[in-house]
Amino acid sequence: MLLIDCPHCGPRDENEFRYGGQAGVAYPERPAELTDDEWAGYVFRRDNPKGWFHERWFHAHGCRTWFAVERHTVTHEIRKAP
């Protein structure tokens, strides 16, 4: 089980959290101008790196804060997002 450092509650067990996937995916600035492929990118395509991954977690059974960390997808090591 991962030990995840919630910015509000401190280090807590993984099963208090819900996973939010890749961090920093912004809604398109000019949605009306997007091509179908650009929409596909926004809706369906996310990074899937083998290595450090910038991702979101939700402290569902705690303070209910959304926050981002960097986690290594092979070692599962977690460090603060820059």
Binding site: L2, N15, G21, G41, N48, K50
Partner: protein, 400 residues
């Protein structure tokens, strides 16, 4: 004592092949076999970074069924099931394919409605399916707790009698032996590190054992597909997750069918040797670590014991995880990519084993002709742009 003969050669890579398949698991080996058998292509190499069938092919729970909801899925999985039904004979190898029946339990009115709908959809597509009420479930599988006071009451189940299990290692060995006999090179310890592209076309793969020129390159790399595709500049709508499974100690025969429960994320069968084989849902986070968290196993066991009180003193022998590549609609991605000559077969998520022969069949056709096989066409990468998704989150039976 002498070592038994090897079932396949251990060749060094040649400088060039007509087709290079990246990934020596079930789907890669089946693709190689059908390239030779159906299309006469034998100047083919299967490149495997580890050893043959050492990834998800060695880690799955071997369940085979075709009771998917939508027409496109029913067609491809039923094609695969029909191939399974003749595969032991065709490959001249006992795959221990056992059509012992697959139950999908319903625990709520929503499950019941969904199950009945699926049975009707399956029948319309020529897939055998039955709806059992709770008493019929008890008769079919007496050790399931169908008491109305159970934590997860069994309100009925779908049954596919032609579904079952097979011995995964035998499947891999049989396909590898046949592919090798056709002259296909199965090259282990050969990791693909990059692609040579020119004019939008793939020319070669770069590997840990040197450059190998290729007329066509076919990815069959499951959880690592994103990593490879990125090296060819292709972003794919895939996320890699750990999927855990476990086996118990060996038991006398006690369970003669496959029992799956979508709602509580448990699927159980008893392997020929006697161990209970159980699978869980995916771990939530992206990972390539081939291991998952114990609380996932714990939750799965808690649910399994509610369904099967008789297993309360059974001990877990070992747990493990494979890396599964999950697509947004829980359906595979099969076909061409934006790079000419580079093909993808991925996104099988939690359920690729059952599709092994069917996937190999349609993928080989797609590679050989440069056009999607009719059964593969709906699963092309373009569906995420057109919006023609094939949502099988219900039938995939495992939460994504």
């Amino acid at each position: 004592m002498t070592h038994p003969d090897f079932l396949w050669r251990d060749p060094d890579p040649k400088p060039s092949y007509d087709v290079v398949i990246v990934g020596g698991g079930g789907h890669g080996l089946a693709t190689a076999y059908y390239l030779a058998r159906n299309h006469g292509l034998t100047n083919v190499a299967v490149l495997e970074k580890g050893w043959l069938a050492g990834g998800n092919m060695a880690r799955n729970t071997t369940i085979i069924r075709s009771n998917y909801l939508w027409d496109e899925s029913a067609a491809i999985y039923e094609h695969s099931l029909k191939l399974w039904e003749g595969l032991s004979e065709e490959l001249d190898y006992d795959l221990r394919f056992s059509q012992r029946g697959v139950l999908n339990l319903a625990h709520s009115l929503g499950d019941v409605r969904e199950g009945r709908r699926r049975v009707n959809a399956n029948r319309l597509n020529g897939v055998d399916a039955e709806w059992l009420d709770a008493d019929e479930v008890r008769k079919f599988c007496p050790i399931v707790n169908v008491s109305s006071s159970a934590r997860y009451p069994v309100m009925g189940a779908t049954l596919q009698r032609r579904g079952g299990i097979a011995k995964h290692d035998h499947v891999a060995w049989a396909l590898a032996r046949k592919a090798d006999a056709y002259g296909i090179d199965l090259i282990q310890g050969c990791e693909v590190t990059g692609f040579d592209l020119a004019d939008g076309r793939v020319r070669a793969v770069r590997t840990s054992r040197g450059r190998i020129a290729a007329g066509k390159v076919a990815l069959a790399s499951a959880g690592h597909t994103s990593v490879l595709a990125e090296r060819a500049g292709i972003p794919l709508p895939l996320q890699s997750h750990p999927l855990q499974a476990l086996v118990s100690e060996l038991l006398e025969p006690v369970l003669d069918c496959v029992v799956m429960s979508n709602a509580v994320h448990v699927y159980v069968s008893q392997a020929h040797k006697g161990e209970l084989v159980m699978g869980a849902g995916i771990d939530a986070y992206n990972s390539y670590g081939q291991r998952g968290a114990f609380h996932v196993i714990e939750a799965q066991m808690a649910a399994a014991l509610e369904l099967f009180p008789i297993f309360s003193r059974v001990r877990v022998l070992r747990t493990w995880a494979g890396i599964v590549d999950v697509s947004p609609d829980a359906s595979p991605i099969i076909g061409r990519t934006p790079v000419e000559g580079l093909y993808v077969n991925a996104g099988w998520g939690t359920g690729g084993f059952k599709a092994t022969p069917g996937s190999g069949w349609v993928y080989a056709h797609t590679i050989a002709h440069g056009e999607p096989h009719p059964l593969a066409a709906p699963f092309a990468l373009e569906r995420f742009t057109t919006g023609a998704l094939i949502d099988e989150h219900g039938a995939a039976a495992v939460a994504h």
